[in-house]
Symmetry: C2
Subunit: 196 residues, 2 copies
DNA sequence: ATTTTAAAACCGACCAGTCAGTCATTTTTT
DNA sequence: AAAAAATGACTGACTGGTCGGTTTTAAAAT
């Protein structure tokens, strides 16, 4: 049986260490021993808190996702589409700065790991795109976009654009002015969605 | 010493097998033995044609890249930006359909493999984005885009959008109408680039 | 044409390194 | 003192790469 999440701070400790170690070389090259060393615990201890390496990875990513979901869209449905997109972009990029290690893990290990993880990550992407499409559909309904917009394609494009920005911010040099970049980006995206 | 590329069709044979096997489970889970089996050769034979697993992967991706580079932009500098983008998108997506296995490899193993591969792939991305930025800069010069466009950000966004489309086409159900989708996408992108 | 011969191509059993996960033992807590 | 937590040496499974030996090919000799 696994210990409850609150037994000590040890669970958090391990999770943080995992973020650091996974982000260094990716899932495969990260050894459980290294995670243990980074956390300052014995290797065996990790298995008191996590089923397996796979499970540790999943918990790690889920934790991060939860975190920034919480900070995320209070989903005030009355905001304009532009405002919603701005917040979406901002939350993701802020996250990537505040939790750089975790962000690297989430981004770079997409294709890594077991078949199980692969499917899991892929389904998350699908869900994200689907949610984005919903948002666009609503906006379209309200006439905030072009009448003939293909929201499916648009959602894929926007998600990709955000992902690319995210990647850039996470891996390349620290960006100077996130807010400005986001404003600029959203402006571009919004123009793209409008009627020709 | 490695054998010349032309000694038999065996090199091609192995490369094709590698595309298939790598695309199935990603770089790490693909075993050289499986590649050998798929190609119908002994494991040792692979090492007559390729230095190592890493090198096999690189050659594979390079081969694919070469191929579609060739088919690519005859770079007729006088085409409109829209036309250039349309061709860029089309070439990538057509490639992903014709060489689905190879496409999966190129896409999903971005973060995978050795440190060496990781860096190599990352540098390719940088280069692609840089080239895209150049294209945008030229167009901006000619007044085809908004005067105040941040071409750096735009290049990142567009590359991401294309990548996302590429991913969708490669992994999800076979798309119905590539040309239509591309037209739609490029239209959106072009609107986004114009002056507000 | 046939045989000889040597080099080139091919092969897969094996080796050596790796690492996730276990568990008997030790340390800490209650 | 006994229960809980922590540990790290160990094991078992796995796989990239090697290498001595076999087969194929092609050229040379008869």
């Amino acid at each position: 049986m696994l210990k409850p999440a609150s037994s000590t701070g040890k669970r958090e400790l391990i999770l943080n260490a995992a973020a650091k170690v996974f982000s260094r070389h990716g899932f495969h090259r990260a050894r459980m021993e290294d995670v243990a060393a980074e956390a300052g615990v014995g290797k065996g201890t990790i298995y008191e808190y996590f089923e397996s390496k796979d499970s540790l990875f999943k918990e790690l990513v889920r934790e991060g996702l939860n975190f920034y979901s919480r900070a995320k869209l209070a989903e005030t449905g009355k905001d304009s589409l532009g405002e919603k997109l701005r917040r979406l972009f901002l939350v993701h990029l802020k996250f990537s700065i505040d939790y750089r290690d975790l962000s690297k893990v989430a981004l770079s290990d997409y294709a890594t790991g077991s078949e199980d993880i692969r499917r899991w990550v892929s389904s998350m992407r699908q869900e994200k795109v689907a949610r984005l499409k919903e948002m666009l559909d609503q906006a379209k309904e309200r006439g905030e976009t072009g009448r003939d917009l293909d929201t499916g394609v648009a959602a894929v494009l926007i998600w990709g654009a955000l992902g690319s920005l995210w990647y850039q911010v996470t891996w390349e040099e620290p960006p100077p002015d996130i807010d400005g970049m986001v404003d600029q980006s959203v402006q571009m995206v919004m123009r793209g969605l409008e009627n020709g």
